[in-house]
């Protein structure tokens, strides 16, 4: 590989290479910042990611393989890049005031966040199983550290170490799965695997399938599906809320990006073999997430189980993707739902952050009593988020569920769709309970007024309602974004 080719490939991956360099610059800047000025890194990190979004958008329409086919630039990767960078921006916005307030203002937060984003972006572009694994680690390790950011608080340290231990355990399965696939195909390149499978030169299809299953385990851990979900409530609760908000969106989106890359693109041949497994996982995830959420009194744990449940909904499309002609539509539905979920989730976390006090107070449902009287705007926004989670029109959550169920039913999995609908009904119970507390119980909740948090809540709430009008064009856009790659 000549130096010219190397430089050319770097420009193909410009948003990624640029952001990595920017993160390195931020590391150096951090060295020279006094301890009480670390907040300066927030605008710098935000600036970097905003520029990254611009660079990503400039790439629209490109379709290139870079570094000997290790990474890809295509509609899917550009779409995911924009989504990840957007998640990063909101992560910075929510953290800025929160970290100061909680006495956690450390430069590492922003730098680790940017590094994690680079991992996610690499995940979206990965075209080789080795790259998938690298990206997975690149995005995960900063998250482990971020979870323990609030040291020496015990909960935060515990969250960090639990997440790390479980993550390492899960990563092991991913590596083992990759190894098995490599052993059966002689390559780790995704196009190579595809051609090997289609040419019928697989050494042992059974072991190949086991390899795929093990990768499913590792990635399922990232997106928190049953039974690989158990870390989620503890980590979500223990980690600082800003980190949780970022992690619950970013890691989930990245995990699904990898699942889509690996299962839909690389391993379509084992779709029929894995479908019953994914079916059961999806059903279990929806049931368990939604049922256990009922028992939660802590809003962070509630949102953790909510996050598990929604992973189940998105996983449904991976059940349906194997049906003929549905792949693109399934992926588009998943991406659409991912966007709707991200908006809703960020909004909800913004409200949580607005109400949270030091030492983990202000996180119980009771603390939301009377919010409707004291802070009408925030309560209305929270109501919109809860309705969007539940899937009630006119919110984007409803539209997202509509497309999801549509794909699942078209794929012929009526019973799975039925479980999805019924568990959605169950979820109304605990989502609406938040609304009941806000509007029908008396209380004097104190709210931290921060412009970025309020802005996040307001914009996401307005977007969730307003975008329903443009739901169909948005879905078409998502479809077109991914079509190129499939």
């Amino acid at each position: 590989m000549s130096i010219q080719e190397f430089l050319r490939d770097l420009t193909y991956l410009l948003p990624f290479t640029y952001l990595v360099s920017w993160a390195a610059v931020l590391l150096i800047v951090d060295l020279f910042l006094p301890d009480d000025r670390k907040g300066l890194l927030a605008p710098l990190a935000a600036l970097g990611m905003a520029v990254g979004i611009g660079l990503s958008i400039l790439q629209v329409g490109q379709q290139q393989a870079a570094f000997n086919g290790l990474a890809m630039v295509d509609g899917f990767s550009i779409f995911m890049n924009v989504l990840f960078l957007g998640i990063g921006l909101v992560g910075v916005a929510l953290a800025y005031d929160y970290l100061k307030r909680m006495g956690l203002e450390r430069g590492e937060y922003y730098i680790l966040l940017v590094f994690s984003i680079t991992g996610m972006m690499l995940m979206g572009s990965a075209n080789d199983l080795i790259m998938v694994f690298l990206a997975l680690e690149l995005l995960s390790i900063p998250l482990y550290v971020l979870s323990g950011l609030a040291r020496p608080q015990q909960a935060s340290e515990e969250a960090g170490i639990k997440y790390f231990l479980m993550g390492a355990f899960a990563s092991g399965f991913v590596v083992f799965g990759i190894a098995l696939i490599f052993g059966m195909t002689g390559t780790t390149s995704i196009p190579g695997i595809v051609s090997t499978v289609s040419s019928g030169t697989l050494l042992n299809p059974l072991i190949f399938t086991v390899g795929g299953g093990l990768m499913l385990v590792g990635l399922g851990f990232k997106v928190a599906v049953v039974p690989f979900h158990m870390w989620t409530p503890d980590v979500y609760e223990g980690a600082p809320s800003a980190v949780t908000a970022f992690m619950s969106n970013g890691a989930k989106a990245a995990g699904f990006a990898a699942l889509i890359r690996v299962l839909v693109v690389a391993l379509p041949s084992i779709a029929t073999d894995l479908t019953p497994v994914i079916w059961i996982i999806a059903a279990l995830t929806m049931i368990l997430g939604n049922v256990v959420a009922i028992a939660q009194r802590n809003i962070k744990r509630l949102l953790a189980y909510s996050s598990i449940a929604h992973a189940g909904y998105i996983l449904m499309v991976l059940v349906a993707y194997g049906s003929a002609g549905l792949a693109a539509q399934a992926v588009a539905a998943a991406l659409f739902y991912l966007v709707a979920y991200t908006l809703t989730n960020f909004g909800a976390w913004a409200v949580v952050i607005a109400l949270e006090k030091k030492e983990g107070r202000g996180l119980m449902l009771e603390d939301y009593s009377g919010l409707g009287n004291r802070h009408m705007g925030l309560a209305v926004a929270m109501t919109i988020f809860m309705l969007s989670f539940t899937g009630v029109p006119p919110t984007l959550g409803f539209v997202g569920k509509f497309y999801l169920f549509n794909v699942v039913i078209e794929g012929g999995y009526i019973w799975l769709a039925l479980i999805g609908v019924l568990t959605s009904l169950v979820s109304a119970y605990y989502y609406l309970r938040v609304v009941v507390y806000m509007f029908m119980r008396d209380g004097e909740p104190e709210v931290r007024r921060d412009v970025w948090v309020n802005l996040t809540a307001g914009v996401t709430a307005a977007g969730l309602v307003a975008l329903t009008i443009f739901a169909a064009p948005l879905f078409d856009w998502a479809t077109r974004a991914v079509l190129a790659g499939f």
Binding site: V210, L214, M230, W231, D273
Partner: protein
Amino acid sequence: MLSETATVGGIFSLAPLVVFIPLAGMIFNMLFGGRLSQKLVGGIASAASGLTFVIAVLLGVALYNQHGEPVVVPFLEWIHIGAFQVDWAFRVDTLSVTMMLVVAGVGTLIHVYSVGYMHEDVIHQGDPSRFRRFFVFMNLFIAMMMILVIGDSYLMLFVGWEGVGLCSYLLIGFWYEKGENGIGNAIAGNKAFIVNRIGDVGMLLAMFTLFWVFGTLTFDEVFELAPEIAATTPAYIGLITLFMLVGVTGKSAQIPLYVWLPDAMAGPTPVSALIHAATMVTAGVYLIARSAPLYTLVPESQNVVALVGGLTAFFAATIAVGQNDIKKVLAYSTVSQLGFMVAAVGMGAFVAGMFHLVSHAFFKALLFLASGSVIQGMERGHHLEHHAHEHDLKPRKKKSKEPPFDPQDMRNMGGLAGRMRTTYWVYIVGALALAGIPPLSGFFSKDEILLEASHLNTTVYILLTIAAFFTAFYMGRQVWMVFLGQPRSAAAEKAEESPAVMTLPLIILAVLAFFGGLLNLPGPHTFGHWLEYTFEAFHLEMETLPFSLPVALISTLLAVVGILLAWMFYGRQPLEKGQEDPLRGILGWIFTGMQRKWWVDEIYHFLFVNPYIQLSHVFAEYVDWRFWHDWFHEVVLAGSFNQFARFLNFRIDAGIIDRIANGLGNGTQQIAGQMRQIQTGYVRNYALSLFLGVVLIVGYILLR
């Protein structure tokens, strides 16, 4: 026809202005009139009306220049539903221009007159702030009347039809807190409105049927299709024309719906002149003339219309003889004269009917306005009298016990000729014109109707001739009672002439009433040829009958005899104060009948109003309240519902559903709680669960 006349330009594009100028006047007075003086408010309203007249004249001239070829001026798209299409389009033809000229011309004179009249009226009634409101309503009326006559479809006509009805209602009840028991005027307004609603049902049914049969409401399209439909099912056209007649009897005060018009005299006198004599009430006549292509297809309907008109003319004329209120005499006279017109258009004598409409507008507006002058003269006299005796008046209580002074009662008048010379002379002109004395306008127009009737319908001819005789008699009676003899009250002694702003329009109207006959002299038939353009467009042949001396002689002779008889009873020996009407002695119960309006109101009350009220009482008290509310609602519905609800509540809900739901809820909570137990917090347990998942998946793949 429409296609030939579709090109519109020049003067005709001004047509929409006839609606918008008065509307602009109204809006201007509504918004700014409060800050302007009375003269300015009245002036603006009169100018709006006058300008409308100028536009109408321009339209007329332009129409004459193109030999009466009808023009349709499109203005706005209105209703487009499938093939059904009705637009706001203005139809300019000789018929509509004639109506416009009458409405705007007479309307302008009445506006000017009203400036003087209302100035005193609002002082007299004690609320000067209503001066502006009056002119707002008047301009609205002109606009609505214009929509009525210029509309190109039955639907647009109906908009105007309802609009003028609304104005009529508003102006009858203008002094809504006055009148008998403080609600007399309001009741009169309500009566007019409700009776007109009955007529409007007829109009609506006519339009529904039109739509059903023709699928269109536009004049051109309806008239073009009419012959075809008449050839196959003439019953449809008969039904439509008879439904329309119901509307006509309401709006144009014909038997059986005429009863509202005499009560409508509760409105200020200029209103009586403009709306309830000259223009609005002639809308029915206009409607029949406009629908001539329909009516001529069904002679049966024509006969019914003619008979209704003839009977009304005769019947109302007899009542007019027995009235003592100066305006009531004119009101019944109006009903009677409308009967003449309806009879004429009913017989197919559209030109004669329209001609009488025009001349009647002149002399009846004149008579009403002059009577308004008389009434205010009396009031001025009463006022002077009151002031003259003020110094020797005892406490007011004593005065209030006297019956209230009625300035409209002719028995209080007498000898006004000397005190109100102008009013007297114009009144003589109006009265002679109405009585049909040659060469005044009324003679020619009435004679033409009688001439046509003598050829077309003998029954109607006899009815109308007798009515003409009565007309001459009651007008003579009125003139002698009001203007001649000796004053029969102190107010009449001191009565004063009205100001020039009122007398000037009177003089102009008197000139018109005198010479109006020139419009359509028996030889040239100018007016007839003018209108023929409109009717010829629909292939209707208008034959003009030659002047008939016997008919003219008979009617003139009868008129003279009527006046002579009036002189015998009221002129030779003028009424004294408090004297019984001499006719009572001669006619006995017949005169009482005339005076009591043949008890029609009482009969209507007996037949319709009281049974209706009793029926509503029964419905309200027994059906609605006792049966529906007390029994059905309370006992059957609410009672059984409560029983059922109690059953559901205690047996089903609490007994079964709650137990299940509680069980489910408790179960779910327990399961959730137990599931939570799995969440031990120990990483080893978490790892174990992960590993179990791996084992299950791999096991499934391998053992499948």
